[in-house]
Symmetry: C2
Subunit: 222 residues, 2 copies
DNA sequence: AGCAACCGGAGGTGGGTGCTCAACTTATCC
DNA sequence: GGATAAGTTGAGCACCCACCTCCGGTTGCT
């Protein structure tokens, strides 16, 4: 019953230093290039050999998890904090803006938020803590007659995908450009008599399928 | 001064038949996989050898141009037809819906419309015939007080990119899903007192830069 | 029949990725 | 100040994919 990580002897000092360097480098590299970045990239950025990276982190997934766990938790915190907003509409738009800001600044975070090759247990743990607050906000905003009634929680990931996609392609040229289109979408979310019909909303499975098809690895595969 | 294509002797019958097969196959393959599709894919689909494709079309670009020229012209026609609409708003939304419908059904068309590796002369010829009608529609819809005033022509390509991106990733699962988000954006385009500020619009150069970064080849390169 | 035109597709070329391992270096402990 | 385990390194292997060439064999045309 002894926990493996607890009984493990501490790393030698140079090894521990390299481990930190690798994590730091991973944060930068994954932020810039997303989960598609190679561990060679990380090693070069960290100033260590590739072998060192592989010794410390058996898979890219393991490194991703360590490098981005904190930011993933932050996303949960943002969703929960949005519940404190005075209105459902404020909370929902606050969450959208915060999530876009974070994911626009870190492509790896965005890839993970879409469900990319993360340890499923951690991913599910995050997702199951983000969905309930957002569901609550959507319902509250609809009962307050500010959010249009034909929107569901499952639209939220799709909105984020669209906007962060713009963000990543325009980041070099106009790092703020995506805000323009997020605002346009937010204005489209407002209840209004002039709004057109939206058609059938995505199911939870639809969202998963789209996210999977959107990920870099899927694109490379076909 | 003799035109090379005019003085060229006609192809042998089997060669002409294969040429047509290749063009037909190219239309299917590029529609499904976009400009990233390989000429090997096209050859397999056409039931001919790769060598045959390369003899007939020295580069992928040449084949793309022949395979998609008609659809590109159709895009121009759609833009011009939108001018006939009763109001600027109707014309603009008609154009958006038509452009999205066509580009969602043909990924290659979408890639070319974004400016992917097409012979520059043809590309510019298309663009310079699409922009004026859209500019006119935007201005008309704004003077009619239906389109919000902080939108410019250069927003149109970005809107198309976002929506067609969703279209391509959701096509397998829910071929109509992108319409939902196009409608949301269209509702966001309507003039309204509750609309938020949009920030600085993209310049023409910004659009080019974003489109370039969005293309499959650019993603592979870095 | 004879010959130019045409076809096919194996394979050369060039690029990239994920990962290993044997030779070397360094921290730590007595 | 050794002895030793722990750590490091990066060339190199295995693999995959895309573009394109080349030439022995085939086919349509006159």
């Amino acid at each position: 019953m002894t926990d493996a990580t607890r009984t493990a002897r501490p790393l030698r000092r140079d090894a521990e230093r390299n481990r930190q360097r690798i994590i730091e480098a991973a944060r930068e590299v994954f932020a810039a290039r997303g989960v598609a970045a190679t561990l060679d990239d990380v090693a070069r950025q960290a100033g260590v050999g590739i072998g060192t990276v592989y010794r410390r982190f058996p898979t890219k997934e393991a490194l991703l998890e360590v490098a981005l766990e904190e930011k993933l938790r932050e996303q949960v915190r943002v969703a929960e904090a949005a519940l404190e907003a005075p209105t459902g509409w404020d909370g929902l738009t606050m969450f959208l803006r915060a999530a876009v800001r974070m994911q626009a600044a870190d492509r790896g975070l965005r890839d993970l938020a879409l469900g990319a090759e993360l340890s499923l247990t951690l991913y599910d743990r995050i997702r199951e803590r983000v969905e309930p607050p957002i569901t609550a906000l959507v319902e509250r905003a609809q009962s307050e007659k500010s959010l249009r009634p034909d929107i569901t929680v499952h639209d939220v990931p799709l909105l984020l995908m669209m906007v962060t996609e713009i963000a990543h392609h325009s980041h070099q040229v106009r790092p703020d450009l995506h805000d323009r289109y997020l605002q346009l979408l937010i204005d489209g979310l407002r209840r209004s008599e002039s709004a057109g019909a939206l058609g059938r909303p995505p199911s939870s499975d639809d969202v998963d399928a789209v996210a999977k098809a959107w990920l870099p690895s899927a694109a490379a595969r076909r």
